[in-house]
Every structure is written in C-alpha cells, then in structure tokens.
C-alpha cells in the first residue's frame, strides 16, 4: 500500500507542475490581450504597419520596432550560423581532443555571460571599433546607399545590435550543432571514406546532409534567443524610432522599446496599452517561429528518413 500512496503523490506533483506551467503561459497571454485592448481599439491592425511613434501626440505604430527586431535578428543569423557550423565541425571532426574540450568550454562560457555585460562591451568596445574599422568600408559601396548609407553616430545602430546578438547566439547554435554532428552515424561516414571520399567530401555530402534537421532546430533556438534579447540590444541600437532600411543608423527592437518606455508609461493608459500590444506581438512572433520550426523539422524528417 505505501508504495501506491507515494506513487500517487508523485503523480499529482508532476501533474501539478505541468498544469502550473500551462496556467502561467495562458495567464501571460490573457493579460497581454486584455491590456492591449485599449491600443488595439484605437489603432486596429494599422498598428502593425504604421511607423508613427509620437508619445506626445499619442500616435503609435509598431512597424519600426517589428522591422528593427527582424533586421537585427537576420544580421545576427547571417553572421552566427556559418561561424557556428564551422566551429562545431572543427570541434567534432578536425581538432585534437584536448583543444576540442577547451574550445568547447570557452564557447559554453560565452553563453553564461550576462547580457548586461555584452551591452557594456558593445557600447564601449564593439560600437567604436565597428564605426572606425568596419562601417566605413561598407559605406563606400555607393550603389547600396539605402542599406549602407545614412549618418552613423558612435557606431550605434541596427547592424551593431545584430553583431552583438550573433556573439550571444553562437554558443547556443554551436553546442546544438556539435551534438548533432556527433550523432551522425559513423557507419555512413566510414563508408564514405571507404569509397575514397576526402574529409571535405564526407563533411559536405554526409555529415552536413544528415544534420540538416538539427541545423534547423539550432537556427530556431538562436533565433528565439535573438528576437527577445533586451539589455545588450538597448545599449547599442541607438534607440531611434525611425523606419529605415539603412542598417548602420539608429533603430529599435520590440524588446528595447519595452525596456526603455515601461517605467514612464505606467500612468498613461494608451502608452501602456501600446507597450502591452508590442509585447503581445513579440509573443506571437516567437510562437510563429516555434510552430514554423516544428513544421519544417517534420517535413525534413519525412524527406530524409533514409539517412537517419
């Protein structure tokens, strides 16, 4: 009997924990919807497409924040993804075991650095460095003026935010990719070598192809982290509410806007509602990404079933 009783207790504890996390998630969602009602009834769906941001006159639009969030995230992925794959391949395939352990440890340490530290480093070191050494080179590409043009102040802008985000997501993508590469069936690789393929050919045609599923998963993990990152971005993005395609200019993300304006918006119902609606949009973006990645992974699983 006692055995059954303890089993029951344990069962209910686990069930409660499960219910608890669902309740929290649903609670957040409901509160966000209720709180953003004021903003939604005022601006409707136009909120998503308007680049207005004037707290004095009470005109708000989410376009510049959504756009800034997406652009900074895409820049982060463009840098982090190839780098992470290279690092992971090196760790699994090429490096001697001692180096592999220490480099792997260093990468994992990157993930442990608090985001405020990244922010300070970005503000004091990275932004001035990019302004002096990297940005001028791009600005010389005159025919792409709508991407690389515009006035740069202190190197702070959407591009710099993307660079700092890339450093922050590299450890996540790398560690997932490392595990994925390790799990590739050795028989497959050995047969490749047996057929006289070079190491690069085996990597390209076997390891990478077999790891495609994991790659998508890792990408979305990094994406999820980059989209919501707040502190580090707020420090280096320049915090302007202009809607622009010029990536070196000041911009903002949903998360940085929330961090900046929440304290003073609390006594202005409309402004508060607007921030809540922005939070809801961020929530929706993450959910959509999660669903898309699940769908994609399932699709690929069907296609490449033979390899795994």
């Amino acid at each position: 009997m006692p055995k059954i009783k303890s089993d029951k207790i344990f069962h209910s504890i686990t069930a409660l924990s499960g219910i608890f996390i669902l309740t929290v998630l649903a609670g957040i969602f409901i509160i966000l919807i209720i709180s953003s009602f004021q903003s939604f009834s005022r601006f409707g769906f136009g909120f998503l497409f308007s680049a207005d941001w004037n707290p004095v006159q009470g005109n708000f639009g989410a376009a510049s924040s959504i756009f800034g969030t997406l652009v900074s995230t895409v820049i982060a992925l463009l840098i982090a993804l190839p780098l992470s794959i290279m690092i992971a391949l090196f760790l699994v395939e090429y490096s001697p075991p001692i180096l592999s352990t220490s480099v792997g440890f260093a990468i994992e340490l990157l993930a442990a650095i608090p985001s405020i530290v990244y922010g300070m480093w970005g503000l004091f070191v990275l932004a001035p460095f990019l302004e002096k050494n990297i940005i001028p080179a791009f600005q010389n590409i005159k025919f792409l003026w709508f991407v690389f043009g515009g006035k740069v102040i202190g190197g702070q802008g959407v591009f710099t935010a993307g660079v700092i985000l890339s450093v922050m997501i590299i450890p996540y993508i790398t560690s997932v990719m490392r595990d994925v590469f390790k799990m590739v069936n050795p028989v497959l690789k050995e047969s490749g070598f047996g057929m006289g393929a070079t190491r690069w050919e085996v990597t390209r045609d076997i390891t990478l192809v077999a790891s495609l599923r994991g790659l998508v998963g890792a990408t979305f993990l990094g994406l999820g982290r980059a989209v919501g990152e707040t502190m580090a971005v707020t420090f280096v993005i320049g915090n302007g509410h202009n809607f622009t395609t010029e990536i070196f200019r000041e911009g903002n993300t949903i998360a940085s806007t929330l961090a900046n304006d929440f304290g003073e918006a609390a006594d202005q119902p409309l402004f508060y509602g607007v921030l809540m609606e922005l939070a809801l949009i961020l929530f929706a973006i993450t959910i959509i990404m999660q669903l898309a990645s699940n769908w994609w992974i399932q699709r690929i699983a069907k296609k490449s079933g033979a390899l795994n």
């Binding site: 069930a15 707290p55 004095v56 004091f124 001035p128 802008g157 420090f235 320049g238």
Partner: protein, 342 residues
C-alpha cells in the same frame, strides 16, 4: 483527488502567507516610489533618517510614471514625480502635491579642445541642433556668438534619452517654451519623437555616449556632468544674459517663480525671468493622498518630510541639488494641515 486538494491547499497557504508578510506597510515605516532624478538624495535622506529615528523609508526609483501609477493605486505611501500633475488630475485622485528639491538640466558636449563653460549657446541654436536644422559645429550662428572658439567643420552628433524620463520632460518643456517650431513639431513629454540622434539609457547612458563620441551634444542632470566631468555650455536666459549652471543659478530661477499663486505648486521653472536664472531648472515633486488611513500615517509622513526640509538640505547640496526656499516650505507645511483621516 484528495491529494490534489491537499497539495493545492498547501500551495495557496504558502502563497497567501508570502503576500501577507510582504504587503504590510503598517507602523511608522513608509514606502515611496517614483522619480529617479532625485533618487540619490532620497536614498541618502532615508539612510540618515533611519540612523536618527530608526524609522525605515523605503524608496524605489522606478520612474515618475510608475510612481504616479503606484500612488494612485495606493500601493505606496508617497509617490514622486519630476513632472508636476495638473490640478484636475490631483483632484480626481484625491492627491496632494508639493515640491521637494530642485535641480538643473545642463547641455553637455564633447568637442576636442573646448573646455567646460567656454561654449555659449542660445535657445534658438539649442532647438535648432535638437531638431537637426543646425547640422555642423561651424554653423555661422554658433560661430557668431563664439568668435574666439575654434569650432570644427564636423557634423553635430545629438544624443538624447532613450528611456522616458523627467529630465527629458524638463528639457523639452524648455525647448517648447523658447521655440514655437519645437512646440508644434515635437512638444513636451517624458518621451518624445526625436527628429534625429541616438538615445542613451538613463543619465549615465547619455553621459557615457557624450564622453565617447566626438563632436556630440546632449543633456543630462547637472550632477552627472560634474561626476563624469563632462563639459557643459553656457546658455542665454530670458533676460538675455549667458549664465553658467550652478546651485545659485538654479536658486535664482526658483526665487522668481510664483509659488503662492499656483495651485498644486504646479510651477515649472524653465525659462524663468531674472538675470541670473538658469533657464533649464526643474523641481521634483512628492505626491500623497489627501485622505490618509489614520492619524499615525499623517504624523509619520509629515514628520519625515518636515525633517527632509529642515535637515536634508546639506546632503542634498553635496549631491548638487538645491533645497526649496523656506518661503515655499512654509506654504507646503500650511497645506499639510488640510490632511484628513478617513
């Protein structure tokens, strides 16, 4: 099912216990929340008051907006705001408002070779720079009033606050008073739609950017320019004189204000008359409910604020704030007599 119920009960008991102990604000201890601009002074006072009376003052520097929201919801005993509330708003929520400290917002810059107090600016130039119409440091308007300075042929980098703040409110209130164009296009607010420039988080964020970015200009609370030794400008005031920011020029601005005639002490100290007045001066305000739960609370609040007015001046001055003139304090103390119990 029984076990479910028991577990839920235990969880609720734990939760409600936690809430009870945390939510208690009874006794003589006071809690406040709001403006970050006077926070250094308020936390110093809280410490000194605790040393002397063993009464704890818990002040959270969460921003004026959050402070106003919290005092309206009665989750704190007093709120603090850099932006004075309008009389209608005070009446609507049964609040009393009085000024506690004054300070100044200064325009700071970073131009290699030009030292603090050397650069002179007029209200027209300042609003021109922040609305991005004056683009270069060697603009003829700036050169005209600074003939002896070597101003660079460089673009001006403007830096403003990224977060909503009372400092921005005071600064944009000043710009709206001196420039009709600013008033029309941008206006006054704790967060405004800046025509250009990048935003730094907090006074310290703006200060860090100014120090780091050459040919930049921005605005910070006076103490931050001193602590970070960032050069500030002279500004031409309403009387046409170029003045230097200092405790005495802040005081001069306050002395000319008409506190008696303004209900709710809703005096805005920007662009005041007087030869020595610093044009971007501001006061920070305390908000309390006119009807208090009991006599003890009234006593606790008024004796604390009375102590602040009488003994807080010295430590406030050390932090580069300006205490309220005694004439104003007497008016405030008179108003405290109207506090009532439910």
């Amino acid at each position: 099912m029984k076990i479910y119920a028991v577990t839920v009960l235990i969880a609720f008991a734990a939760l409600s216990y936690g809430c009870n102990t945390k939510g208690s604000v009874s006794g003589k201890n006071l809690s406040g929340a709001g403006a970050s601009f006077p926070f250094p002074a308020y936390s110093k006072w809280a410490y000194e008051y605790h040393q002397k009376t063993n009464i704890q003052i818990n002040y959270q520097s969460v921003g004026s907006g959050a402070g106003i929201a919290q005092i309206k919801k009665k989750t704190v005993d007093f709120g603090a705001s850099d932006k004075p509330l309008k009389v209608e708003e005070l009446d609507k929520h049964g609040l009393m408002q009085f000024p506690m400290l004054m300070g100044g917002v200064v325009v700071v810059f970073n131009i290699p070779g030009i030292k603090t107090g050397e650069l002179k600016l007029t209200p027209e130039i300042i609003s021109g720079i922040f609305s991005c119409k004056v683009k270069k440091w060697n603009d003829h308007e700036i050169v005209k009033i600074n003939p002896t300075l070597k101003l660079p042929d460089e673009e001006i980098n403007t830096i403003h606050r990224a977060d909503g703040s009372g400092t921005t409110w005071i600064f944009t209130n000043y710009l709206s008073k001196v420039s009709p164009v600013w008033k029309k296009n941008t206006g006054t607010g704790k967060a405004v739609s800046w025509p250009c420039g990048i935003g730094g988080k907090g006074n310290e964020g703006v200060a860090a950017n100014i120090k780091k970015i050459k040919n930049s200009i921005g605005y910070v609370e006076y103490a931050y320019s001193l602590q970070n030794s960032i050069p500030f400008t002279l500004i031409r005031n309403k009387s046409g004189k170029f003045v230097k920011p200092s405790s005495s020029s802040f005081q001069a601005a306050a002395a000319n204000a008409e506190w008696e005639k303004t209900p709710g002490f809703r005096v805005v100290l920007t662009d005041q008359n007087g030869e020595d007045s610093w044009p971007i001066t501001g006061a920070t305000f305390i908000l309390i409910h006119r009807v208090q739960p009991d006599k003890g609370k009234i006593k606790a609040l008024t004796s604390y604020f009375k102590w602040c007015y009488e003994n807080g001046g010295e430590s406030a001055k050390k932090l580069h704030y300006v205490p309220m003139p005694s004439k104003v304090v007497r008016l405030v103390e008179k108003q405290w007599k109207t506090l009532t119990v439910k």
